[in-house]
Symmetry: C2
Subunit: 200 residues, 2 copies
């Protein structure tokens, strides 16, 4: 559908999606009604239903939006995760962002995933695809490090990428609950120390 | 209140809580109404409101229940997490359990936490207390390993416990989304390998 939208139509659709993303980040999917989104985005009921058949369709658009924010817009950063220094700087940036957010909301993709995992198989597949992109980006950097000889041959970038992403996800969830970034810094530092143990 | 319950009253209350826990594990907190719990537990409206003022009170009882299931009932297992072999066996048991559950539901405490984190500060504090108990149990085992000289003095049990719990939480969330235990095994193995790198 989006192919056929006019520039104005696309702007309206984008406004609806980014408004929905903000509300769902703050209040969760269940706590955000289509009416809430409509009011906050300043669009009519017929407008919102013109772009999104139902709330499920809107949730999938929010997942796509958040995947772009978390993975798409950071592609340059993630592509440069190919040295110990850049991994440490990336962890610092994540901690700083959580501090700015006062540890609220958790991971924009992970929190959506936790909420829809048992309710909506299509949305679940979208979240998985988002995590796959993220994992691939981390993995590519670790492969580059191994190819350059910065990591020893016995390092397994695929496994290390899985561990790093899992640690990040769990640490973000615990950070959100504890409202404290201390554990986030510790968990990421330990995970990156593990990667560093494979340096040549 | 529970102090003053008769044996029959306690049995009814327990049935309501365990029914609510099962429903919320399967459908989430938002997807489970007090009426759903009432019908599934076979109790009247006045009975459920006799024990729980509102849904919030019921959610807090479910968090306490799930903390007992995940941490309390496993105290013996968690207390014995004081060797590399027991850490590996614990990881195997977690993977086997997820396989039996077909990767559905995620962590019983973590999933509740993700859903209520931004909605209910009291419930959030309860979830944090549950994670604190869990983290302490892991930490105690690692301290025992260091005290016995199985881990070198430079190992920091507090930091390693945080990393292991964060990795487990993230891996369980990703396992639930991917419906696949491969990444769970990899993430836990790598996290435990990191601990093993501190063995004497």
């Amino acid at each position: 559908m989006s192919e056929r939208l006019t520039a104005k139509g696309r702007a309206t659709r984008d406004r609806i999606v980014s408004t929905a993303a903000t509300l769902m980040f703050e209040r969760g999917v269940a706590g955000t009604s289509t009416e809430d989104v409509q009011a906050a985005a300043g669009v009519s009921t017929s407008q919102i239903y013109h772009y999104f058949r139902d709330k499920k369709a809107l949730v999938r658009a929010v997942i796509a939006h958040q995947t772009e924010v978390v993975v798409g817009h950071q592609e340059a950063v993630l592509a440069a995760l190919d040295s110990m220094a850049s991994l440490r700087a990336w962890a610092d940036a994540i901690v700083a962002l959580q501090r700015r957010l006062e540890c609220k909301g958790g991971c924009p993709i992970g929190s959506l995933g936790a909420e829809i995992a048992e309710h909506d198989a299509d949305a679940r597949a979208d979240v998985v695809a988002g995590f796959d992109r993220w994992e691939r980006a981390i993995r590519d950097g670790l492969h580059a490090m191994r190819d350059r000889g910065e990591l020893r041959r016995e390092a397994d970038p695929d496994r290390l990428a899985i561990m790093l992403l899992a640690t990040l996800q769990g640490a973000l969830a615990l950070t959100q609950l504890r409202r404290d970034t201390v554990l986030l810094r510790i968990a990421l530092t330990e995970a990156i120390d593990h990667i560093e143990s494979f340096t040549a």
